[in-house]
Chain length 363, copies 2
Amino acid sequence: MARVFNFSAGPAALPQPVLEQAQQELLDWQGSGTSIMEMSHRGKEFIGIAQQAETDLRELMAIPQNYKVLFLQGGASTQFAMVPLNLCAPGNAGNADYAFTGHWSKKAVAEAKRYCDVNVAVDTQENKFTNIPVQADWNMGDAAAYVHYTPNETIAGVEFGWIPETGDKPLVADMSSSILSRPIDVSKYGIIYAGAQKNIGPAGLTIVIIREDLIGHAGPQVPAMLNYKTFADSDSMYNTPPTYSWYMAGLVFQWLKKSGGLDAMGKVNHRKAEKLYNAIDNSGGFYRNPVAIDCRSIMNVPFILKDDALDKVFLEESKKAGLVQLKGHRSVGGMRASIYNAMPEAGIDALVDFMKQFQTQKG
Amino acid sequence: MARVFNFSAGPAALPQPVLEQAQQELLDWQGSGTSIMEMSHRGKEFIGIAQQAETDLRELMAIPQNYKVLFLQGGASTQFAMVPLNLCAPGNAGNADYAFTGHWSKKAVAEAKRYCDVNVAVDTQENKFTNIPVQADWNMGDAAAYVHYTPNETIAGVEFGWIPETGDKPLVADMSSSILSRPIDVSKYGIIYAGAQKNIGPAGLTIVIIREDLIGHAGPQVPAMLNYKTFADSDSMYNTPPTYSWYMAGLVFQWLKKSGGLDAMGKVNHRKAEKLYNAIDNSGGFYRNPVAIDCRSIMNVPFILKDDALDKVFLEESKKAGLVQLKGHRSVGGMRASIYNAMPEAGIDALVDFMKQFQTQKG
């Protein structure tokens, strides 16, 4: 079958040129006679690959010198524990502010409660996570060790258009689904973390960007593998890292640079999202997105059909048209188009065309 | 360059037919129009791949029904913490027996000490980890929650030829470098764990085989991602698993089945190791392996040259001959040939020929 347009929320589509290069190099990386998968992480070939990936990411995101970039395992779910274990004082003395704006921040809150007193500064569950209150309406704690939020929530499709102001308290962000989608000011953050499987590379790699003064505060009960210092001190090679995912991430970073970097990517992503939201909003109610307009996600676009009896046939026919993985999360229903960096604008055009055609036939 | 014989200790060589299939399927898995790397782990395609891998591993190792097989992240280093966090009573009340027979068991001991009282039942550090005392000489604790050992140590190249008897105490084994190298009796173990990057697949995947009664004893302070129950209850899909490594592991399991399973693999591995040790022992002292004969590893064969001034030229010339990654660990010096399942017998023959030739020239 020809390659399809893949709207999976994650693991998500990768840029085709990246996959083609990986395929070409799979058995023999640059004349080495071995696959990347077979290389010692301590060898000069892999260390070169690893360092280049970090250099490219630093350049793409303009990461300041006083931040470490860590290449870890375990996904955002491991970070949900690692953040409080490293930033709250040992023995549950600390407390932390959390913004509770979707499914993933809910999981972050639940895990943090094992290690510190969580102050939920804002909670949009009652509105089914379809809005983000302005910061003046948040209830921040006085002595929080940090403030945690999720800039983009993949399930409801809700995204912050602004960065919370937290003064001296470090701001911690789960950017799994929005990292690299546009330029951001890294210096506003204490920690940025992201599972790779949306905008970075294959699943199994987690990137952490951490301000250096936040490293080294974990207590003795924290496992070595959950202590940021372990990885900051070892160039992320305390143990065998996920080498192939790291290499693939490096190829994605090079593709991003060739594509014009995050400025260019941000423009394309806004245009892609605008086309799709316009198609939804201009459908006379046949398609509908319930999220407040000022916080609609540019990465994950959920939409429901007026008649949910048509869901099944929509999915079947879109698949036949080469548009796959459009089923919405069960908690929201309907459809969801995840349109990360690797989704070309042509994929959005094809989806919009299909949606119009489908409405004409069934509306 | 042509493919070389790669003696890396890990990440290690993978079977060439596995790499070829991965290459062929990289952009389009079985007509799906997407790469495995781009597939949702919740979709029926990936769930099929995941289940088949587990089924094949269960068949290869004859894993009894009362064991769960978990596909995790974080490597053996994460298991060093996860084992005591799950098997020792919370609050440091527990204690555990550890066999201290090499570099990796040393790391396991250090990590376990965060969570329980470690009784070192046997310690071969004084002998530079070149022997394994019989169990009658071990000093087992009375009330240990479990007994931990490392059947094969990759650095000194020392391997148990027998399984410790632990009565009612669960036996826990770090099998990272020996799993799948020969048949074993899984029912003798409470937990078997292994990082993938030697005999299973690419780095970034960890396999845990755990007896069901050992699941569910972690305290509330244990992170969800370090609790075996989290993964036992979710078919290892609590969060996004390392999907591509899981798929690659599945291809390796199928290759093992086609190759005759672990009986056949064990015979080949013993023959490979015997050829190499014979070449060392019959070199009149030009090459030497310091490990006691009854516990020499069949997976990692370290050897030193009589004259270490020849190390550099040995490495250069062996590389020219297509034999790579032979440098020994810095703590041992000399050479190390890691000869896991994917190293064909032809690779051993080529190495032995090279060693003889080198000795003729330089001896």
